[in-house]
Amino acid sequence: MTSPISTSNVFWTVWLFVHLILALGLLGALTHQAMAAAFPVRQPAGGIVTRFRAVSAPGYATAVCVLYVLVFLIGSFIYTSYRVNIRIPLEQGHYFKTGGFFDFKEHVSTLGLVLLPAYWYFWKNAQNPEYDNARKGVTLVLAVMVWFLFIVGHVLNNTRGFGA
């Protein structure tokens, strides 16, 4: 059986790094935005937490969508290697919870992807108070999803990922 994905570890490691770096950007942007949406700053303050929330949240919307799609596409590509080279050894090693959580991550990533059109629309119309609650809700849900995806990916990588 000739496997088209049995290329070198370096190839997959580079893609994993790109996935990680873009995911970090997404995580940072979405966390800033979620904090700004959930706890809007009403008056100037100098604390680090306040400044973390005091970002121009609407400006993040397009970047978040672009980053999410890029991370999703690259993750989908890496997934082909995961399915053959990582998941099978995980099953053989009885790492069932790890494997289960990766599949959970797979589902959550799709649920997040389909939220993007409404998320983008709500933020591009941030001046409309009619969308305030929906915008806050969808941003928080998306932020929780991205944190979940990031943590599961990180734990899985510690189990059998980088250089495996």
Partner: protein
Amino acid sequence: MSTTVTANSATAPTTATGSALAASSRFKVFAITFSIAGPVVYCLSVYFNLAVFTYFPAIGRFAWGVEAVQSGTGPNMLWYGWDVTTILVAGVLGLIAMMLPERVTNKIPLFLVWLVPILSIPYVVYALMFWWRLAMRE
């Protein structure tokens, strides 16, 4: 460093996007319908195994619809097929919604956009029961 706080919250007036898409009421209906229908369609795709195609990563082969693992094919992947099914069906539903009169589309509750994905999570966890059963046997 001083902190200037202007237009930095979700509720504060923001810079106008100028984007025709963002100003379009039809796109609004499409986006909201797509995002509400998406999680539902995805869960149905997983439950009924409605994948547009199956991918066999070990041999790099695509097959239309759902195709089981056979000797020499290695594992199959349905997730890509489920995703494409979801995007296509939710997209069509969004397009249909765009054709409905505004008095109907204005009644779509916006909170469903964030509530439906949350409600999808219990099903998703349930769909992974085989993993949790194996884990509990350990």
